[in-house]
Amino acid sequence: MIFDSEWLTEHLDGAPDLDTLAARLTDCGCLVELREAGDGAEKWDVEVTTNRPDAMNHRGLAREAAVAADAVMRPLEFALEETGEDAASLASVEVEEGSACSRYVARVIRSVSVGSSPDWMQRRLLNCGVRPINAVVDATNYVLLELGQPLHAFDLDLVRGRRIIVRPAETGEKLMTLDGEERELDPSMLMIADAGGVIALAGIMGGADSEIHEGTTDVLLESAHFDALSVRRTARRLGMRTEASHRFERGCDPEMAAVACDRAAALIAELTGGRVCKDRIDVYPQPWEGQRMEFSVAALSAFAGLEIPTQRALEIFRGLGFAPEGQGDLIAVTVPPFRVDIERVPDLYEEVIRHVGYDAIPSQLPILGTTPGQRNPNWELVDRAREAAVSAGLAEVMTFSFIDPEIDDQVTTGPLCPGAPLPLDNPLAQNQGTMRRSLLPGMLAAAGANLNQGERSLAYFEQGRVFSLGGDGPEEHERLGVVLSAEDGKTEERFARLKGVVEHLIDEVGLPAVRWVRGGAPWLIADAGAVLTDDDGTAIGLAGMLSAELAARWDLRQDVAVAELDLARAAEPAPPRFEPLPRHPAVTADMTVEHSAELSYSELEEAVRELKSEQVSSVDLAARYTGAGLPEGSVRTTLRLVYRHPERSLTQDEVNAAQESLRRRLAERLGITFA
């Protein structure tokens, strides 16, 4: 809120210079964020926290300033002259029982001539960011900024039957508010009505029909106390936020309603030549009673970690209007009506601590058992995954957890779909309308952006959660996604590179061994995609070359290899175990097999592993050839076998014999030929 520095200090005796005052206010919790030159005074932008509506006006902030800067509050003084005519004879106020209105104060001011307000008032209003309108309305706004009480002025002649009725709206009622909007009302909303219908939204905004205008002669001034929750709900429902609703929502002072009404009436009379009728109309069925609270200064000191003298605590509460009484270690206070935030003893501690200042509190580290800190297993898992990806040379990216529902549809038909979609009720944009069920859409959008930035090769990963709706409510699944792309190279090489990365990740993360099964639509090309399944055949990942259809979706003009792994099945990998180093040299022997492309490499390798001599310590792919010289649909695969005996060196003849035997058995098993 913006304050006028002159207006603020006007309420104080013995105020320090403005620099000191601003610093002290900041120290006690009213952050002076910005100071600017205004008209005749400085404009201060002060951040008053939402629990302190009492300080959202000049007099309230001055009360804080007085305690913070060792000044004294001046009493609020103004002169109010009343005529002999009784206000109650000119207007009536009824508050329907059970209404969210605990007090309704009204005054009548007659024979006003509505002109503009004087310069001094306009200057202050403008400094605080309020546009002057006319003397009557300006006076109500002035008192709002000064005392924090929202007021409303009606043209009494336009109040039908001269009756004010506070009641809920009836279904179907409508009101044209001051801002020219027609509002549809319902019975959850509190209204000000007259004999003919609704004339104002209680605590939010008046109606256009009873507005003060140039010809207004008699004014009915409303100064009421409306229930915070009722105002808040109505304002939210109507999508309105006004100076009045802002204050009522946070809580106003019911006792101030009378004072503010008098203050505004006196100002209106002074500015418009009007005459204030005798007495307030005041419907106040249950007057405020102050809550008494008591606390021990020793307990406060123990809580703060600082010895606080009783005298200092008493001073603070006196300055803040709590009428404290000290008795030994105990201090009893009465919570003033403007302090809606004070409910319990710790709230009182805060008052003392913030005025004593955090600077005065010593620094002392707590002493607890010397137990080591533990990381939650999920953090261990995702960090293991992230570290594995970094060690594979990938850069980490983050994309939004919400994506376009249209793209999310692709997940439904693809492998790795975690469950039903989880849409947002109030997304910021249509293309952020649903929680992602796969990391790929976000990562592929990023691929487009990166390529557009002129990146030629992509190598990045994302680790994060995907979301779905399961039988027991929302579910979250940790995933790891990979995107690779290079300008040149054959598909086979690109796929092999991706597979190398994925195998490394599976190993490092501790995922179960997987089978690479051809598949992965709609994400992947049918000829170059795989679904990764565990022993039970459950998909835990997919990897391959992005399909043309999806590449077009993100306008990718370069082949992209993608993979996504679900981390749920991961277990911490066992620590490595040392194996005795071999003492005898190995013999390497290659074996070249010509076979149909229908026989997959993994089938071939599995057969070799099963049939090989026990002296074979490793089987690897050495070369693979298709093309010229081979019949259509045939492949030539060279396997490299390493023979090793634990106790002696093997001879070439022994190895040859083992190879020959293996060849024979392979030929029987697979019906293949040897080159």
Partner: protein, 358 residues
């Protein structure tokens, strides 16, 4: 099949040999593929000769012979080149058993321009937000704090009500919330994990909670998705002085022992009293600069003593225990530490950004 096939084999041989260069192992592979005793292509071409009709045998046979000669000659030549390398490399010629190749040690094939750039390493990199998270985790792990975790999709109780933010509380305005169609919400802060941990654990509790949070807001300084880290300590006799010292110790470890730490009274519904915490500007030494908007101070975290209402909501004896809590934005710290101007840049998936942190 005809002589055309011979031409194909010839050109693929020349291409393969060319790319094998002077690499002994590669040359040997080419030899096996074309002239190998068992599997060589020449065998296959020879076998084919027998199947041809007589009138074609003549041309094909002649072509095949020429090809054989050429392949042999080229292979010899290539092997010479390979052997030459070895011969020239007399200082340390090694034959590796079981490998057809020979390698030379202690020589260079040609003079090297030592000022040429090295082959770049393909290094991976962590996202700056995670770098900052790990740094902060490390500090608190050393102080005996556990690192906790919780769901990003939350219920109203843990995100709001347990934290003393009842329905219609004005504080809900400050945290524009994303709601899900099934009635859950996206957590607006990491604080619900505090409530979850206190519900299942007895004090003493000493935890930090890093994580992803969401608010319905987007501009230069706000992103609908960002990251926080939260701290909580609950035990008997915990004081404001403990909170102050813990935050000072943490901020000194994170930034430098030189920074000044300032606590200002603030307001959070779940702490009482609350404090906003500033550090002296690390960029201008408090002379005033763009980062601190001229004030010399940078707002870095929010904190306070746990409100007894929160203890009561999660079933902890508020007469016996006190505690403190604090929270800060990880993205904000990353932006500050690394000088990143726009929050939204962090979540654009731009690999160029992360590569800078390799």
């Amino acid at each position: 099949m005809s002589t055309q096939r011979l031409e194909e084999v010839r050109s693929s041989f020349l291409a393969d040999l060319e790319s094998a260069g002077a690499d002994a192992e590669a040359v040997e592979k080419v030899r096996i593929r074309y002239a190998g005793r068992r599997s060589g292509l020449l065998n296959e071409l020879t076998a084919h000769l027998r199947e041809l009709p007589n009138e074609k045998k003549r041309d094909y046979g002649r072509g095949l012979n020429e090809l054989k000669k050429e392949i042999e000659a080229k292979l010899t030549e290539a092997n010479m080149a390979v052997r030459d390398t070895v011969v020239n490399a007399e200082p340390g010629q090694i034959h590796v058993k079981g490998h057809p190749s020979t390698v030379s040690v202690g020589t260079a094939e040609s003079r090297i321009d030592v000022t040429l750039p090295g082959t770049p390493l393909a290094r991976g990199a962590e996202h700056p937000v995670h770098l900052v998270r790990r740094r902060i985790e490390e500090i608190f792990l050393r102080m005996g704090y556990d690192v906790e975790d919780g769901p990003e999709v939350e219920d109203d109780w843990h995100n709001f009500e347990a934290l003393n933010i009842p329905p219609d509380h004005p504080a809900r305005d400050d945290q524009d919330t994303f709601y899900l169609a099934d009635g859950h919400l996206l957590r607006t802060h990491t604080s619900p994990v505090q409530a979850r941990v206190m519900e299942r654990r007895e004090p003493p509790i000493r935890i930090i909670v890093p994580g992803r949070v969401y608010r319905r807001d987007s501009d230069l300084r706000h992103s609908p998705m960002f990251h926080q880290i939260e701290g909580l300590l609950v035990d008997e006799g915990i004081t404001v002085a403990h909170l102050k010292a813990t935050l000072e110790t943490f901020l000194h470890a994170l930034f430098s022992d030189e920074v000044d730490v300032r606590l200002r009274p603030g307001y959070f519904p779940f702490t009482e009293p609350s404090a906003e915490v500033d550090i002296s500007c690390i960029f201008c030494g408090q002379k005033g600069c763009g980062v601190c908007s001229g004030s010399g101070w940078i707002e870095i975290l929010g904190s306070g003593m746990v409100d007894p209402r929160v203890f009561e909501a999660v079933g902890i004896d508020s007469e016996r225990y006190t505690g403190f809590a604090f929270g800060l934005g990880l993205d904000r710290v990353a932006m500050l530490v690394y000088g990143i101007p726009d929050l939204r840049q962090l979540f654009a998936g731009d690999q160029r950004l992360t590569r800078q942190f390799a």
